[in-house]
Symmetry: C2
Subunit: 182 residues, 2 copies
DNA sequence: AACGATACGGAGACAGTCTCCGTTTAGCAA
DNA sequence: TTGCTAAACGGAGACTGTCTCCGTATCGTT
């Protein structure tokens, strides 16, 4: 990539991250272009649609996912605590900006989504926790990772759209945890 | 209301119901106006925004909610079956058109929403089922109706956005049911 | 310095929302 | 019937956001 192109690319991603956080995932792309000091054409050449831009924005996020999972797995305490703690982290990870939880959760299991690799990372992270609990014999039979992602993603989506705080979310995560554990 | 106004009102609601079902909740309102044979001005005078139109569309739906609940409460079988069966009905009720589950669930507990009365009806319906189970001593402590609505609404939202079929939804409803029951 | 490939950016087509206001019509009263 | 007025209509158009096309500018190489 030419140096100026690279500069613009980076600038757009940086600005997009900021604007998505401020205004949510449905912010105007033309405005992002303007704030980044480029024309809309430039933005759309680098990112043919909103999702590819989101994908780029999430690039750095991938690291944080694995770090968070590592930490969650070292959790001292009961399996239930570990699971609920992980769910809270999970919700936090996908709730970076308004509209994020819905976007990410619905992309989960869709092989054509531009953010599929990011979803894969998240699914793998969740899988590590689930498999750890399964190995402990803590889970009921028939629990599938994708279902867990959807259940927790669904809660995060509702919380996002109803602007619920952590205190309102936790009891719902507990219900799901109790429904998954023996 | 003047006769012609009433006629247009009814026509718009009828067409909107049809178009929402066909194209989802984000269909073009100008198109609904066109199909109803009125100008956009007429539509927006009757319905200042999308939500008030949705509210009108849902008017007839209210009857169905209570009927469905009555039937669900007569369910023969275990508490678990009754609950899961109700959840499936609940999901069906709020999944009339694409975008519906998210809209309804996020309006739940928002006293300013134009569809608040409709949400109230739904919340009451859910409450009847929950209280019946609570009376049986079947529920864990601390279960709140609004949480149940949000949990099941979250599942319906994800199912809606990921276009999941009933078979994929049921196991998730089972998890929630198991998390709520003793 | 010159040149070709690469990238830029803004004008503008298009779609959707929503309003304003000149025109039409319903319904009533004489 | 006719005339009148309040009520309702409807479409032109302002505004916002998406996305493309293509003339212009810039990079980096020779």
């Amino acid at each position: 990539m030419r140096a100026d192109a690279q500069r613009n690319y980076d600038r757009i991603v940086e600005v997009a991250r900021e604007v998505f956080r401020e205004q949510g995932y449905d912010a105007s792309l033309d405005e992002i272009a303007k704030r980044a000091g480029v024309g809309p054409g430039t933005l759309y050449r680098h990112f043919p649609n909103r999702e590819t831009l989101l994908d780029a924005v999430m690039q750095s996020w991938v690291l944080r996912v694995t770090e968070t999972t590592d930490k969650a797995l070292t959790h001292e305490g009961s399996d239930r605590d570990l699971l609920i703690n992980w769910f809270e982290e999970y919700v936090g990870l996908i709730s970076q900006h308004r509209g994020g939880p819905a976007k990410i959760t619905s992309a989960m299991g869709n092989p054509d989504s531009p953010i599929r690799t990011k979803c894969g990372v998240l699914a793998d992270a969740n899988d590590r926790v689930i498999e750890r609990l399964r190995a402990d014999g803590a889970l009921r039979d028939g629990v599938e990772t994708i279902q867990v992602c959807r259940l927790v993603g669904g809660i995060a989506t509702v919380a996002d759209q109803s602007e619920l705080d952590v205190a309102a979310v936790r009891p719902m995560l507990e219900v799901v945890a109790d429904g998954l554990l023996r």
